[in-house]
Each structure stands twice: as structure tokens, then as C-alpha cells.
Symmetry: C4
Subunit: 259 residues, 4 copies
């Protein structure tokens, strides 16, 4: 197997001037929840599968006990006569070189299908378990900010101040070299849990941007389940924090660099 | 040395329509115990050795104080006029890329020797120290399930739900691209110890599938020795668990993703 | 994207017999503070940007919410009719191979622009939080020592005795193969914090070597802020040390190699 | 810089049917102490230097404050009309692939200089701080055992049972492919400290094998210094062990695989 292997499913299909939505696993799996939800609701068609030696060396097992390699997959669907491309997947690269190589490959494919703008979808970790109904944005060129604000996206100086790690960030950075407009949309989330509630907030903003109707009832159900788990965790964390206050002493790392 | 180096031992031998059994080190060393046992009992012939820069950079020392590089080795034997190939080894790759590269090489060799079906053998970790006489299966195409059930293999939706890591899984996943039927057979095992008892369970199922007689007396002896060790560990773990109940507080990792 | 990608900003510019100053992130960010300060004060011109798959796979977010890939950047300015080149950046390579590859590339570029001498700027960790107004030097050929002493650089046998890690060291070592004079200048610093005060000491020595005037008022302000933080940390560390004296027992690592 | 760079110092020199001694850093630095000692006493001549991107990305600082890249170096000297080659160095590879690549390169060079036998020198960790005057051997072909026993080398079934890690082991394993006789000689050592006393034991055996006179007075001095350090460590460890008996509970790793 080469570093990456591409398996194409539909070679006839005509796509042009399309929008790419990237929803790979990440903070709170917010981006992944949104894109997986769109694929299901719009019965998106599988375009091509990407396998990489940078993915974890394992297979996943399906309902019928059949296995499949870790992959990232391009899907497509049409809505209001517009072509939407989606990038979904099980995992991201396990190493730095692989991240760059794969994101560059994703942009090759985006250009092949005439992608004119990209939205990478992710989560913005707050460290707080209570929900904040907000979506943070970052862009690869300044003049995208105003139009996104009109759809309810928040922008904050230098936020996330740790930068944006992984495909959501790299695709923005690398798309500059190809003059493709790109923005990263991040739902606020604790960072501790898969967060369907944050996915709802992100989906609301996204459907306004794309001008499409999305049924979020399923995400709402999942959100309710998670709320129960969160309730328990809040309790657990409180106990933990009390414990720590009693036992903890500052470690060297805590005295780390302060810019 | 290239990334991988192949040393061939028998180039005359005629093999066709054969079955490949893969038993590399892994959970409970169940797969390795089974394949090593078959190699010994059927006096399998060494076909070729594979060396790789992805194996640990070390040598092992034999009875007579001679060293040998870490390797994976193909063996073969005939039974009931059928050709059986076996893949055994000291270690698996130490990195993700090496795993993919080696498993792809193993499949090149499998095709060279006309392998029509593959069984990768491993262990399914239960976390429980008491033995469960069961073998879990996963396949690379659904229509293998029924025939394997007839030989006593269990199938469970999405199990192992952490997927199958390493060669046992990758070989299944990659063999899809080559239209070779492949199944992974996993003996239930604690995950804490080398488990000859689980190897017996797996061997029983496998000999039924291959329709061969296997003498397991030697594995039984080893199993008895392990039972003594287990007895002691059970005690040790109980003490440990009591200790932990007294001292432990949940850590952030414990609050990790829940799908 | 190749392993490394170069984006050139000014191809007309004529540079010869220049001096290269390297200030990448490192101990106390001393070198980075100095070079970033010079770039600002002398309004240095951007010469070229270097992107690498060895940099962390992420983007940074600017004031206006636009992102940029991690990069290392060459700048240049003229002073007293002399050409000065500067190498600044967000990060260093995340792996060993990348460090060697990038430092070799930096020297290719240095030769292209006729660099005749190099100063790599860094910090020398003392483990003490109180400031020492001293600059330690190391060179890639002995006859550089005397002239640098005249500018107040200290030299100590085999110091730093752990060697010089990263670009500051590698560029010195690799420039030997190209017969370029190079010295590493290290401001004394605790190693716990970004240290603008150490940067002042280093800048004083450097401006004497380069015979240029530098306004350090801005660094002084930053230094004052840090002094407050340091005061708090001193307290925190004292508490910590007391704690440790009570709880700690020597670990194997503490019994490690002693030459 | 390529993966590896070779700088040759003496291209005229005629060497044939020589013996190679490998003494790179490792357990107790026993092998390094022996080879460095021989280089000094016999004023061995520098043959060639090897630089590698697999070595740590740093430089070391000498007495005169000049830096040098991490390297492995071949030396040579003549004694009793026999040519001796020595491989010394600051460090070994930091990654698995680099280990294989470098050891293969070392054997290319060995063949170029007509090396007919190789001794890799190292330490055998006992975990005990008191000295054992013994040298353990391992070989790459059985018929070397008898002759080495006559020189006082001990051989034990499957010892070291963890195998031999790094260059000392790999060079033995890889030299098989080139039909070069090779043995690894390991001085018994605690594994906690640089061990000149173990180096003396190893040197005694080695000088008997090579039939050369070696003055070990300098190593004896260093050994005396270490004995003082050891005395203190013994005390420290006893205290530590008492502490642990009071605090420790078995961890999962302690319940790890038992073959």
C-alpha cells in the first residue's frame, strides 16, 4: 500500500462550484456529528474513500461482524441546485507528516471537484460542562468575517489562542496557497464529551449559511442522553476537585511558559 | 538493509489453493501459541523469513547463545492433501506505517502462494481472569459468517467494539482489495497473561474448520502452570482493588469521550 | 506539500557579505524575543517563508481571526551599510530528522544570500529564578572566542554541559561543513519562564558586536510584568519544595548515569 | 544533509583482515569506556566520522567552547602487526529505522576495510550494585563459543533473556548476512551507573582474546571514584526500598505477560 490509497465509487458524476464541509473526529466530535448527520439526512452519495498508512493500524467491526479499514470518505449531495461535498471519517492522522500530506490530498480532490469555498467544522473547548449556544469562527482571509457574522458566527481576537490543531486548521492554512475561501466553524463544547448539543448550535449556523432546512430531532434525542451523563460527571468532577484541593501541590509544568 | 528483507529457504516447493493461518504476538499471545503449536506438531517447513526496520532494533538469544534478528516467518505443511501456510513471529511492527507495509507484503506473499482464504488468530480481552471457552469471529465479507458459526465461532454486533488492532485486523482489511476471504478468530482471554487455555479453545474451533486432528496435551500442561499463576494474580488484584477503592479519585481521562 | 515549502517575497533584493541572526523559540524564548524585537524596531523586510511537515500540524489565529500555518521566516534590514538577515519563527521541528533537514535548508539560504557569519541566539537555563546579567557563548571554531570576549561574552569549559539542543546548536555544527563562522549566544535564564530581562542582556552584547543602537524600552516594560509573575512563582516554588521535602523519595531516574 | 553523512580523514591507509571493536554508549557505558580507553592508550588514528539525522538534534561543547555534532567515529591502530578498527561515539540512533540503517552502514565500512571478525562491547544489567567480575557472551554462530570460553567468557542459555538491544545486538544479527564472525561481550554491571570496574573486567578478557597488553591504571582511578558514589547510592536505594514496601501496591504492568 502506498502512503495513501484512493478508491473511487462514482466517476461519472458532474460537480462544479461546490462547497466542501469537513467534519472529522475532534474536540467533542462536534464536526463529525454535524457532517455524519447531513450525510444521513440528505442520503449523500459516496464519492471516494481514502486509506492512509498514517491512520491507526486497525480495523473497525460493523453490525454484521464485517471489518473495514480506518478511512476518510468524500460524500456529495445536491440541495437547491447546489453541490455540497462532505469529508467524513473515523480518525485523523496519527503523525504530523501524515496530517500535512492528507490535508494536501484533500485539497487536490477539492480542486478536482471545483470546490470554491470550504467550511471545516469542529469544537471549541471551554472546560465548562454547561452548554453555551455559540459558534466561534476563524477564516483564511479577512473579508469572510462580515458575511459569517450575519449568520451568527462569533469572532474573537486570537481565539482559539492555542491555535486550531489537525485537519480543521491545516485545511484552512493550506487552502491559502490555492486561493480557496475557507472558514473554520467551532461549536462551544466542554472538551470532555461527545457533544450533540453543540452540534445542534453549529448545524443551526451552518444551515443558515448554506440556506438549507435541517431536521435536528435525532440530534436532540442524543443530546438528552448526554445531559444525563453530564449530570453525573458534574458531580464526579466536583468530588474530584475537592479531593485535589486537599492533595495537590503545583508541579513544574504548572510553572510553564507564560508569553 | 531495505525497509524489509526477505530470505527464501525453499524455492522449489509447489503450493496452491492454500489456507494461511496468521499467529503473531498479541493479546494473551493466543494466536501465537496456536500457530507455534501447529508448526511444531506438523513439523512445518520454513518457507521464508522477513526482516524489517519496523521491528524492534534488537536480537534474541537462543539456547546455544547464538543471536537472531527479530523476524516474521512463513511456514508450510500438508495435511489431508491440503496446503497450509502459517505466519509466525517474535514481534509486530513498532510503528503504524510499518504495520501497513508489512501486512501488504504478507498479502503479496499469500497471493504468490495461491492463498484462497486467511484466518488471523488472536485474543479477545475480557478483563476477567476466569476462563471463558468461547471464540469470537470477525470477517472481511458477510457470507463467511454462517459457515464459521457451524464450527462454533461466536459473532457479536460491532465486537470487538474497540476494533481489531495490528496485523490480525489489518490483514483482514487489506485482503478485501485482493478478493481473498479472511476471518479473524479470537479466543476469549483476560488480557493480563499469556493464555494457553484460550489457545486450546481456539485450536479446537480451528481444527474443526480445517478438519484436522490436533494433539493439545502440551498446551494443557502449560495451561495448568498458568492456572497457578492466575490464582496468585487474582489474589494480588483483589488486594489492589481494595487499595484503589480507598485511594483513587476519578481522573480527566476517566471522563473521556463517550459516543 | 513537499517536506518543506518556500514562499519568496522579495526576489530583486541584493544582499551580500551579510550577518545572520537566528532567534527561534527555545529556553526562555530569549533568542526569539531578541530577533522579534529587532524585526520590529528596524522594520525588517520579509524575505521568504518556510513551511514544513515537521512543524506541528496546526494553524495560529491572528488579531483579525485569520489563520496562518506554523512557519519560520527570513527577514532582512540594513544598518550602517551592513546587511543583516534574521530567522524568526513560531516553532521548531517536532522531530529529529526535521531538525537536521531544516537547519541544512537554512544554511542553503544563508549561502544564497552570502552570509559570512551567523549568531544563533538562545537561553542558558540556570534553574534559578533570580536574574544573572551574563551571556554564555559557544563557537564553531576556536578563533572566534577572543573577539567575542571583548564584547562581554562569557566562555566556560564544556558549558552548556548538556550540549545545545535544536536549531541554535545544529546550525553551528552544520555550518562547519560550509566554512561559515558561527557562534551561539545564550542569555542566562531560569528556564521556567519567557525572560525579557535575559533578552535585554543578550541584546546589549549583540548590539555591541554588531555596533548598532537598539532601543530596549519595550523589553523593559515586558520585563517588569514578568518580575511580578516571578515573585508569585518564587513563593509557589518554595511551598512546593517544602511539600516535596516531606513527601519525596529518590526514584531510579535520580540514580541515573553519572559520567 | 542526507540521512547519513560520512567524512573521511585518511584515505591512503591500507587495512586488511582486521578486527572491529564496537563500543557505543549503552548499559553502564561499559563498551564505550573500553573502546575510548583503547583509542587513547594506542593513540588510534581517526579513520572516518559518521553523522546521521537519527542522532539527537544537538551539538556537544568541548573544553575550548567549540561545538561538534553528535557523531559515531571509526578509529584504527596496529598492534603485533594486526590491524584493529574501533567504532566509538557519543550516542546511538534515536529511532528504530535509524538503528538498522546505521548498523548496516557500519558493516559496509567493515567490509570495505576487510574486517574478518567483530566484537561488540556492552554491559549486562544485574540490578545489583555490588561488582561481579564476569563477562557474558553471545555470538552470531555457535562455533565461536568454545574459543571465547578459553578466554574466560561466560555463556548462559538464552541470556540476556531480554535480548541485546541497539547496535551491540543488531551488528551481530546483521553480520550473519555477510558471513562475518561476530560476538557480543558484556561486562556485568548494575545498570544504574557508568561502570569503569565492569570495563576493567571486560578489558581483561578482551586483551586476552586480542593478545595485547593494556594499562588499566586510569580506569582503576575512575573505578575508585565510582565506588564512593555507589556507597551513597546503596544507602539511598535501601531507604527507597523501605519507603516502597510501606507505600506500594501491585500495578497492572506488574501483572504483565509471563511466557
Amino acid at each position: 500500500m502506498q502512503n495513501t490509497k484512493i478508491v473511487r465509487h462514482n466517476t461519472e458524476i458532474e460537480i462544479q462550484d461546490s462547497t466542501l464541509l469537513v467534519g472529522l473526529p475532534g474536540v467533542g466530535h462536534v464536526g463529525k456529528l454535524v457532517v455524519d448527520h447531513l450525510i444521513e439526512q440528505f442520503e449523500a452519495e459516496k464519492l471516494l474513500e481514502i486509506y492512509s498508512t498514517s491512520f491507526p493500524p486497525q480495523v473497525l467491526v460493523d453490525e454484521n461482524s464485517t471489518v473495514r479499514l480506518i478511512s476518510n470518505i468524500f460524500y456529495t449531495f445536491q440541495v437547491n441546485g447546489k453541490d455540497i461535498l462532505l469529508l467524513a471519517g473515523d480518525q485523523q492522522s496519527t503523525n504530523s507528516e501524515g496530517h500535512y500530506e492528507l490535508c494536501d490530498l484533500y485539497l487536490d480532490i477539492a480542486e478536482e471537484y471545483g470546490v470554491s469555498r470550504i467550511f471545516t467544522l469542529g469544537g471549541f473547548p471551554t472546560g465548562q460542562l454547561d452548554h453555551v449556544d455559540e459558534v466561534l469562527g476563524a477564516v483564511n482571509q479577512e473579508d469572510l468575517v462580515e458575511s459569517l457574522k450575519e449568520h451568527g458566527v462569533t469572532f474573537k481576537e486570537k481565539e482559539p489562542n492555542g491555535g486550531i490543531v489537525g485537519a480543521s486548521g491545516l485545511i484552512l492554512g493550506l487552502s491559502k496557497f490555492r486561493d480557496i475561501d475557507a472558514a473554520c466553524l467551532m461549536g462551544y463544547t466542554s472538551g470532555y464529551l461527545v457533544d450533540p448539543k453543540s452540534a445542534q448550535s453549529l448545524l443551526a449556523v451552518l444551515s443558515s449559511i448554506l440556506d438549507i432546512e435541517v431536521d435536528i430531532s435525532e440530534l436532540e434525542e442524543r443530546a438528552k442522553e448526554m445531559e444525563k451523563i453530564v449530570a453525573n460527571l458534574v458531580e464526579a468532577k466536583q468530588q474530584q476537585q475537592q479531593q485535589q484541593m486537599l492533595t495537590e501541590t503545583p508541579r513544574d509544568e504548572d510553572l510553564g511558559y507564560i508569553g
